[in-house]
């Protein structure tokens, strides 16, 4: 992949197009296989697979309501996927987005409460920024622990999730609790004025647009800047990167910070657009869904957008599947699992075929 983007000769279009076709065709073929396997599973359950496909399509993309439903579910997952995808460029497997979401949301809520009364646009901006910084520091610490103390980043980020949830619980059950929230302890509300609104007549909130912007800018950073290129080198071979004189430690911490900032933003948006206060509902599993999306998108920030939309769609169709076919919610988990396994298995087919053999394309 990276070899392609470096070769910028006039004749490079052939291999480039080939790489693009490959990057699209292989996942699509894998998806088709996953859906065929899913159809077999459905048939084994005594349902008509084509009916079920039709229902999934109807629930996920079949109407403007369904599309909005899928997009809304995709928004937080796009951001949490970035938390795994960006450090992954540097060879890090970070699975701590859940904790960053929780703490980002909590920090955003506290900011909103503290600034209550100021101009809403200002309050919202500061809330989102604080959420990003807190999420960034949280995951940045994972990078620092790895580089300076040798702590495995996957384990530390996973365990930090539990610490983050415990911090949230401790605070909303204790000193930050709104006494009116007796049986579902929560912070005080940030106030209706400080909520992020929806786009025009739709039900999609502006947080979705922020998620899109972040995906595109992270793609730009990782593919079109010296920083992104350095990350790829660190990910390829840390020794080589050190020999080249790259500041490996700093690069790792910054990559983790940026990843965590995306997840922190997801939490801040959850608070500012959905809940209006922080409570344990922030711990909804978006961080874990993001890991799935990042791997399906092969850690490419741009590819995260369609993959998150697909996953959001699958989740959105669950309700209709349950109601129309009496299938349990676990059905969509089976589909998700099959998609995941097929796409991961398809990795080994990259580079096997030459899609557009170009005359001048020398290896």
């Amino acid at each position: 992949m990276s070899a392609i983007s470096v070769s910028a000769t006039q004749d490079a279009w052939g291999p480039r197009l080939g790489a693009f076709t490959e990057a699209c065709a292989i996942p699509v073929i894998a998806l088709v296989i996953a859906f065929v396997l899913f159809g077999v599973f459905i048939a084994a359950q005594g349902h008509d697979p084509f009916d079920v496909y039709a229902t999934i399509y109807r629930g996920a993309f079949g109407s403007w309501f369904s599309v909005q439903n899928s997009l809304l579910r995709a928004a937080p997952i796009m951001l949490t996927a970035l938390c795994t995808a960006l450090p992954a460029r540097a060879g890090f497997v970070v699975i701590g987005a859940e904790g960053a979401v929780v703490l980002g949301g909590l920090a955003a809520a506290l900011t909103g409460i503290a600034l209550n009364g100021a101009m809403p646009l200002f309050v919202i901006t500061v809330m989102l920024l604080v959420g990003m910084v807190v999420g960034g520091v949280w995951i940045g610490a994972v990078g620092a622990l790895k580089h300076y103390r040798g702590v495995n980043e996957t384990i530390s980020s996973l365990l930090l999730n539990y610490i983050a949830i415990a911090i949230l619980n401790f605070l909303v059950f204790g000193m930050l609790k709104d006494p009116a929230t007796l049986n579902k302890p929560s912070t005080f509300p940030i106030g209706d004025d400080n909520m992020i609104g929806v786009i025009g007549e739709s039900s999609i909130h502006w947080g979705f647009v922020l998620a899109l912007i972040l995906c595109v800018s992270y793609w730009f950073v990782s593919r079109r800047t010296p920083f992104g290129f350095s990350l790829d080198i660190v990910g390829g071979n840390v020794r080589a990167a050190q020999v080249c004189g790259l500041p490996v430690g700093r690069l790792l911490v910054i990559a983790c910070f940026l990843g965590g900032a995306a997840a922190g933003l997801a939490g801040a948006i959850e608070v500012a657009a959905i809940h209006g206060r922080a409570n344990i509902s922030l711990n909804a599993g978006y961080g874990y869904a993001g890991i799935l999306v990042a791997f399906l998108a092969r850690q490419n920030p741009l590819a995260i957008i369609p993959v998150a939309f697909l996953l959001g769609g699958i989740r959105a169709s669950s309700g209709v599947l349950q109601r129309a076919h009496d299938l349990p919610d676990a059905t969509v988990l089976v589909l998700q699992g099959l998609v995941f396994v097929c796409i991961l298995a398809s990795e080994m087919f990259y580079g096997r075929w030459q899609w557009f053999p170009a005359k001048a394309a020398v290896p």
Binding site: N183, K184, S203, S281, V320
Partner: protein, 370 residues
């Protein structure tokens, strides 16, 4: 976090109370009554969600009702989308989003967008002053049934040590723990209840750990207030101690040592609502009640329950049904020795002060700090 509960904000004379009232608009004589149910966990959790699913299944059997449902819906935008989808795709006239955390802000926001649909929430949070007319609440005084479990546990325990595995130290949970303890101590004043808070509504690993450690301490009756009592019931049976259920009937999980349990009776609640919609009667915004109104029930006694225990519990149930049973009769001390209800003072079931309970009664080993 999920959850339901009693709540603050409005005092009502218990029982089935109608305030205002709301008629569902789009019903025609020959059309089916369309009801939608949303659960936060799985339908077959042997607990809270299953109790609502059983209620839904009861109304779904009637040929003039079309009932749809969804499970595992988290308390965020996904709950809003599930509600809207039931309204737009299935034409639901009345929705039952059953988890406590669906109410604010998700139900409130969606309800103002769909004024012709009735939103009935399990938890009793509706407030005439603050909330839309097409929202309502229903809830049962399940602590009455927990009280009966406590009586049976008190008669059955040989060690005089009971165990209560609870999710979180919130008022509704504390009230169940206190009722269970007060009831057991009405049988034998030396009995203690050890309480462990797991910190979450569905935390099976911690629930099993707590159950095992309680049995190791000599506790011989276990009960719980978590979403799914399955793990606690099975662990109790395996370790050879007795158990009292919660939410639904768990006798099948502990066939030998299951005593009784506190159950919701949502089939009655949901059938009543369906009847009201069919007859185009106004739907009350607030429905609450205990044994008397038929909103809660006790699981049938297990074979090991003695005649004496059965008689005692049945007598108290009769008093609940008659409406003259008072659980919180002063003097009552908390487990730190402070008097919380003065001598001579009687606090009835519908008293609002019980809904912000933040203390554990004398005889409970544990702390509200979790």
């Amino acid at each position: 976090m999920k959850r339901r509960t009693l709540l603050k904000g409005f005092a009502t004379a218990g029982a089935v109370t109608a305030m205002g009232g709301f008629s569902v608009g789009r019903v025609f004589a020959d059309e089916k009554v369309k009801m939608g149910f949303i659960y936060v966990g799985p339908r077959d959790d042997y607990g809270y969600n299953q109790s609502h699913f059983e209620g839904k299944s009861a109304v779904a059997k009637m040929n003039w009702v079309k009932a749809v449902d969804e499970e595992n819906v988290p308390e965020n935008i996904e709950a809003v989308k599930s509600m809207e989808s039931m309204i737009n795709l299935d034409g639901a006239q009345v929705l039952f989003p059953t988890s406590f955390g669906y109410f604010d802000p998700h139900i409130l926001k969606t309800a103002s967008k769909y004024p012709n649909v009735m939103f009935l929430h399990c938890g009793g949070l509706w407030d005439a002053k603050k909330h839309p007319k097409n929202v309502g609440s229903y809830f049962g005084y399940i602590d009455e049934a927990v009280y009966l479990s406590g009586i049976v546990a008190g008669h059955t325990s040989k060690t005089g040590k009971l165990g209560f595995i609870a999710a979180m130290p919130i008022p509704q949970v504390l009230r169940n723990i206190n009722n269970f303890t007060l009831a057991a101590r009405s049988v034998n004043p030396k009995i203690t209840t050890t309480v462990v808070f797991t910190g979450g509504w569905a935390n099976p690993v911690k629930e099993a750990e707590a159950a095992n450690s309680m049995v190791d301490q000599g506790i011989d009756v276990l009960t719980c207030h978590v979403d799914s009592p399955k793990v606690v019931m099975e662990t109790a049976e395996k370790r050879g101690v007795f158990s009292c259920g919660y939410h639904t009937n768990q006798a099948v999980l502990a066939p030998i040592r299951f005593l009784t349990g506190a159950e919701w009776n949502w089939s009655k609640v949901y059938s009543d609502y369906a009847d009201m919609i069919k007859a185009k009667r106004p739907i009350p915004n607030l429905v609450r009640g205990g044994f008397k109104e038929g909103l809660v029930k006790s699981s049938p006694y297990g074979a090991v329950v003695s005649e004496k225990a059965r008689k005692h519990a049945d007598d108290v149930r009769a008093k609940f049904v008659a409406g003259n049973m008072i659980i919180y009769r002063g003097p009552i001390k908390d487990n730190k020795g402070k008097e919380v209800i003065a001598a001579g003072k009687e606090v009835g079931q519908t008293d609002i002060s019980l809904e912000s309970m933040d203390w554990l009664v004398e005889g409970v080993v544990g702390s509200t700090k979790g």
